[in-house]
């Protein structure tokens, strides 16, 4: 089996990674066009304002005779333009966000279902936290590309172009002078952006040092106190805190310098325009209104450039995020459904392992030449030390992994011939750790599936003896379970997982017996529930207590990936091998009393 992590996937670089996500945006191309038009309207109105004032000054106000009508007309056009611009802006924001959110929604759903469809080796090699970050924050970052970055490019780019165009239209000569500013502003912005980013990152890193120090020390305060090291830790905190303060002050200073530098340049530019423009007015090359418009435009000039340089960071982080998402989406599941699957009909539950070998990492076999057969409805126990290969056998049966050699069959059909979905409906799994979801008890039993009614759920709970216990919960079946089922006891969680299996009603049941200690009352419930679950099914149990499998039809003893003994309890005890030794050590003498003994005292015994 290949060892596969996301780092190994073929890296795509730069914009190419964003291009991979474009198909998600394609259906919205019409919306983007509308956004573009709205942005043009918005920009036009804001660029128009100084121009209108110029008209008013040159045509209606500064001339000798009063033209109130002209003034009113200009004002009305202005108000009209403002309303159009505000409305365009409003709808543009809504529309663009709608599009951005819709795209991200699609990416998220696609990503999530893609991850869920991966085989277990994927989850062995990629950390959960990483994947959660992919789904939640990387997608969020990418959404900024479709909203912020796109908008800034269009809006700021357009507004820059429009301002420059109007300036050249008013006076090409002064406009040409003004163009000197462009490279200066860009240079200042780029220079500071880099410093600002470093300063920002330093502050962030130092703050996170402060936070992790605090988190750790709050958790371990008693250690500090008992070792009487309060002063030392306070001193450490002081130095981290101080490092953060100086970085923070520095970051602030850089940002103040940047903003004031742009301010300064703006003020210098205005003085310059007054100088150049004033002389032009004296020379009757331009009207005064034109100069007024220039003064306003030169101030408007700075905003879009500044805003565009800010988007640099957005672009870069979007590329990184898109790249990460792309890598996940590029991974193909190791375990794939067959092209022409066999549909199971009447499942009997016959299982066979035929000379199966298996390795998680190539060359390190965890199972060697495993062969055994289980008759429909039989109860089989698996015994062996940790790492003997018990769980691996079960993972092959559920096809969480594919065998390296040999084959695994259910009802004489290789598991690779079934669709995974069909296979998983035949085989049920009860795990050591009960996974619970945030939701009601009912939802947890029926796994949020709509096809089961509340009645079905109650019947399943009754079958495993969980009904009475569930009804004792604050809201009975409607009790909301906290994350990871924190408000249920170990025993209650076990029972919920049994009810789950009974409801799903698979023909084959794999049971990984819980190792956690339960009190004797709960232990008795769980044992009874177990019997109910195992009834009429082929049951394979990974046993941690020999008492559980004493009466099994067949016991398979594993050691370092091989089957070393096989047979029923009596045969194996008589054989005097490893099982017999284990059995002897477990201290079960007379079956009845010994079982009780183990049950009541096991919590202590198991450490």
């Amino acid at each position: 089996m290949r060892q596969k992590t996301l780092r190994d996937a073929t890296p795509t670089s730069g914009l190419a990674s964003l291009a991979h996500l474009l198909p998600f945006a394609r259906p919205y191309i019409g919306y983007f066009a509308v956004v573009f038009v709205l942005v043009v309207i918005y920009n036009a109105a804001s660029v128009l304002q100084p121009y209108l004032v110029k008209i008013a000054i040159d045509r209606d106000i500064s001339v000798a005779h009063l033209d109130l009508h002209g003034l009113i007309a200009v004002s009305l056009v202005y108000i009209g333009a403002v309303i159009a611009s505000v409305a365009a802006n409003y709808f543009q924001i809504l529309l663009l966000q709608y599009v951005g959110q819709s795209i991200v929604r699609k990416i998220r759903i696609r990503l999530f279902s893609h991850i869920e469809s991966q085989s277990m080796s994927f989850f062995d090699n990629n950390s959960l936290g990483r994947l959660v970050t992919n789904v939640s924050s990387d997608t969020e970052t990418v959404s900024q590309f479709f909203t912020q970055f796109f908008l800034s490019m269009v809006r700021d780019g357009l507004s820059l172009v429009m301002i420059i165009a109007v300036m050249f239209e008013l006076s090409p000569r002064i406009a040409a002078y003004c163009m000197v500013l462009l490279p200066i502003i860009f240079a200042i912005s780029l220079l500071f952006r880099k410093r600002l980013r470093t300063a920002y990152q330093t502050t962030r890193t130092r703050l996170s040092n402060v936070v992790s120090f605090l988190a750790e020390n709050l958790a371990g305060m008693r250690i500090t106190q008992i070792f009487h090291q309060e002063d030392r830790q306070a001193e450490r905190f002081r130095s981290l805190n101080e490092a953060h303060r100086s970085a923070n002050v520095h970051e602030y200073q850089v940002s103040v310098q940047f903003n004031r530098a742009l301010d300064l340049l703006g003020n210098v530019a205005v003085a310059g325009v007054v100088w150049v423009g004033g002389n032009a007015v004296i020379g009757h090359m331009i009207l005064f209104g034109t100069l007024y418009a220039f003064i306003t435009y030169i101030r408007q000039f700075f905003q879009p450039i500044n805003s565009i340089t800010q988007q640099w960071n957005t672009l870069q982080s979007s590329i990184v995020a898109a790249d990460r998402i792309g890598r996940v989406l590029a991974v193909q599941p190791d375990v794939a459904d067959p092209v022409q699957p066999l549909t199971p009909r009447e499942v009997t539950g016959k299982i066979e392992f035929d000379q199966v070998s298996f390795a998680y990492k190539p060359g390190e076999n965890v199972l060697n030449d495993i062969s055994f057969a289980v008759a429909p409805g039989a109860f089989v126990g698996f015994v062996g030390a940790t790492g003997a290969g018990k769980s691996s056998i079960m993972s092959l049966l559920t096809r969480f992994y594919d065998v390296s050699q040999g084959r695994v069959t259910v009802d004489d059909v290789d598991v690779r011939e079934y669709r995974q979905e069909d296979l998983h409906r035949m085989i049920g799994l009860v795990q050591q750790d009960v996974h619970l979801f945030s939701g009601t008890v009912t939802d947890n039993i029926r796994m949020f599936r709509g096809e089961f009614s509340e009645q079905d759920v109650i019947r399943a709970a009754e079958a495993v003896g969980a009904d009475e216990i569930i009804r004792r919960l604050p809201q009975g079946y409607e009790t909301k379970l906290f994350a990871k089922g924190a408000n249920l006891s170990m025993g209650e969680r076990q029972l919920v997982s049994f009810a789950r299996v009974v409801l799903l009603n698979p023909r084959v049941l794999i049971l990984d017996e819980a190792t956690a200690s339960l009190d004797s009352q709960t232990e008795a419930w769980v044992q009874r529930g177990l019997q109910a679950v195992a009834k009429n099914r082929t049951t394979l149990v990974i046993a941690h207590r020999l008492s559980t499998i004493r009466h099994a039809d067949q016991i398979i003893v594993l050691d370092r990936g091989r089957i070393i003994e096989q047979g029923d309890h009596e045969t194996l005890v008589a054989k005097g091998g490893m099982y017999a030794r284990l059995y002897e050590k477990s201290g079960i003498e007379a079956p009845a009393t010994a079982a009780v003994d183990i049950l009541t005292l096991s919590p202590v015994a198991r450490g």
């Binding site: 108000i79 959660v132 303060r245 602030y252 003085a271 007024y292 559920t398």
Partner: protein, 622 residues
């Protein structure tokens, strides 16, 4: 909604102080005397006052700079206005143009410098206060007991140290800047327009933009609220992802992938819904403010134009006025933000005040015995112990004596009270008066420094700090020599493990370094305790993750090096206490049996039953 109850959070203290200063004062004095001791310093408002007083000159410089910068700033439109007038009087010459341009340049440069200086100072002081507050919080937390931390989540406390402190800083730095800036800019601008231009024009044009701050105050918290909801639904989605992926084997085994995707889709849809809801609000907000500004401008254009044509004001005045108008819209908007900002900060101050007013519950007694050497005799006569936040006693009727140099084992099943009992000795939790004695002194009468200096403690979880292994082992003493650290590591049977790491003792542990196994952690924690070489050593179930062979080695080593010193071993596995001089068996919070291993085996009680079971059952399963 936080925005709504913000004012109330701070209301009691303000109103109390203003309405009934005498009773309030009296109550506070009483509180100080009774509980807090250093109340005057613990209250963050006092801290703030002290800070402001200490920096008063610097603040004066900063704010005077900002005020001066605004006075300079408002000359900008005036100069342009004069320039316009000179022009329309046809008196403009290239020389005059140059003068005006230079004047503008001067104004521009001086403004930027003055404002920059003020802004920089205020910003720096805000961050300095942020530092002080965090320091104060940490110092305060160091005085509080385990009982306090038991009740609170670390996340919650961190939230205070991060967000509340930041809110205060924001008000102090940005808030202060903007407030001074906007108030004076507004005042200066109004003064200029009212005196130099036209009263009626000014008032008429102001009407629409006066709504700007109101809008900000009203809308700001609502948008924040909506954005909090968006954050919540984002973390809902992340939670579901984590939940689903951590249960992936179950999801796969039940062929439930599609159902999970449906559940996920629901969360994603909720995000989209909430996000769009928030966007609607903020889009409205973002559109309204420029709209109001433009309305003002339209009035100025129409009415101002009319006045100009009528020759009631000059063209220069008209030009200057439109520029003034553009200048005040930002401060008006900012005043709104500042008000929201201050509201948040005062709520944060109130929360910090509550946090800092918690008095340490475990502290030195007033008549503590000073200057004594502890030899290590322990005497416990405990009738009952209840956790400060509990209602039923968890320990009852426990009495035993340990002579210096003895080794004591404490065993019992999970929940029998072993750890609780162990925690009483170093006063992690305070026992009742006159129930636990060391060298004949009630431990509550011993100074904490003396008591804790006499006890080396190994916690159950082997808690270590994310520093190097060497630093962890040498934690008890700043000047622990490398040799001493090495010796302690050898004694705790962790030395070879450490040497196997590439960086040896300098190996960093925790998130950014190596992850130690449970057993390695416990042994490192034991080494840390051994280095302290205290008269009393307390191992709180700290061998649970250590394998049998290593345990045997460790116990033997302990017997040698702890010769003549008291050692208490809380254990799950009986093998760890077999050699003890005295074994205490706890059950349900009571001492049910005690004696040596041989005594207890002969007695055929709880201990012997446990022993038989563990001895036989070793290694039955994985």
């Amino acid at each position: 909604m936080p925005g709504e109850h913000l004012p109330n959070a701070d209301a009691p203290c303000f109103s109390c102080r203003l309405v009934a200063p005498s009773t309030r004062q009296a109550r506070r004095t009483r509180l100080c005397a009774a509980e807090v001791g250093e109340c005057a310093i613990e209250d963050p408002r006092h801290l703030l006052r002290q800070f402001l007083m200490a920096k008063k000159w610097s603040y004066a410089v900063a704010n005077v700079s900002i005020i001066l910068s605004e006075i300079v700033m408002v000359q900008f439109p005036r100069i342009l206005g004069e320039f316009t007038n000179t022009l329309s009087r046809r008196q403009l010459t290239p020389g005059r143009v140059m003068d005006y341009a230079l004047e503008l340049l001067l104004v521009g440069v001086v403004y930027v410098l003055l404002f920059g200086v003020g802004q920089m100072r205020n910003g720096r002081h805000g961050r300095e206060f942020e530092y002080l507050l965090r320091k104060r919080l940490f110092d305060h937390w160091e005085t509080l007991s385990a009982g306090y931390f038991r009740k609170r989540s670390v996340g919650d406390l961190l939230n205070h140290a991060l967000n509340d402190v930041r809110a205060v800083r924001e008000a102090l730095s940005g808030g202060m800047n903007i407030l001074t800036n906007s108030i004076f800019l507004l005042a200066a601008t109004l003064f200029m327009t009212l005196t130099t231009i036209n009263v009626k024009l000014t008032l008429m044009s102001l009407i629409p933009i006066l709504f700007v701050p109101l809008l900000v105050i009203w809308w700001g918290p609502r948008i924040r609220d909506a954005s909090r909801k968006v954050q919540e639904s984002l973390s809902d989605m992340a939670d579901l992802t984590e939940e689903s992926l951590s249960a992936i084997s179950l999801v796969k085994a039940t062929a439930n992938e599609r159902v999970e995707t449906d559940r996920f889709t629901k969360r994603v849809d909720q995000i989209v819904r909430r996000q769009l809801g928030m966007i609607q609000r903020s889009a409205m907000f973002q559109s309204f403010i420029p709209l109001l500004g433009s309305l003002s401008f339209a009035i100025a254009l129409l009415y101002g134009g009319y006045l100009t044509v009528e020759r009631q004001i000059s063209l220069g005045a008209f030009v200057a006025f439109t520029l003034y108008l553009a200048m005040i819209i930002t401060p008006l908007q900012q005043i709104g933000f500042v008000i929201n900002n201050f509201q948040r900060a005062s709520a944060s101050m109130a929360r910090l005040r509550i946090l800092l007013s918690v008095a340490p519950d475990i502290k030195d007694s007033d008549h503590a015995v000073q200057h004594i050497e502890i030899a290590g005799d322990i005497d416990v006569r405990l009738t009952s112990f209840t956790y400060p936040d509990g209602d039923a006693p968890v320990l009852r009727n426990i009495a035993f004596s340990v002579a210096r140099g003895q080794t004591v084992g404490i065993v019992g099943r999970t929940g029998s009270g072993k750890t609780t009992l162990a925690n009483l000795l170093p006063r992690i939790f305070d026992p009742p008066d006159s129930s636990v004695f060391v060298d004949g002194y009630d431990i509550r009468e011993l100074p904490l420094s003396v008591l804790r200096a006499a006890i080396a403690y190994v916690p159950q979880d082997g808690f270590l700090f994310s520093t190097s292994i060497g630093e962890n082992i040498g934690f008890s003493s700043v000047d622990a020599t490398p040799e001493a650290i090495e010796q302690a590591a050898r004694n705790a049977a962790i030395y070879e493990d450490i040497m196997r790491f590439r960086d040896g003792m300098a190996t960093q542990i925790g998130e950014r370094g190596v992850t130690l196994s449970g057993g390695q952690k416990q042994r490192t924690a034991i080494a840390r305790a051994l280095l302290k070489n205290a008269p009393i050593l307390l191992l709180d179930d700290s061998l649970s993750a250590v394998d049998m062979n290593t345990e045997k080695r460790l116990i033997t080593r302990l017997q040698q090096i702890r010769h003549g010193k008291t050692t208490l071993i809380v254990a799950h596995r009986l093998s760890a206490v077999r050699h003890a001089d005295l074994i205490l068996v706890l059950d349900g919070g009571e001492l049910v049996e005690s004696g040596t291993h041989t005594d207890l085996i002969r007695r055929k009680g709880v201990y012997s039953a446990l022993y038989r079971l563990q001895h036989d059952g070793e290694g039955v399963t994985g």
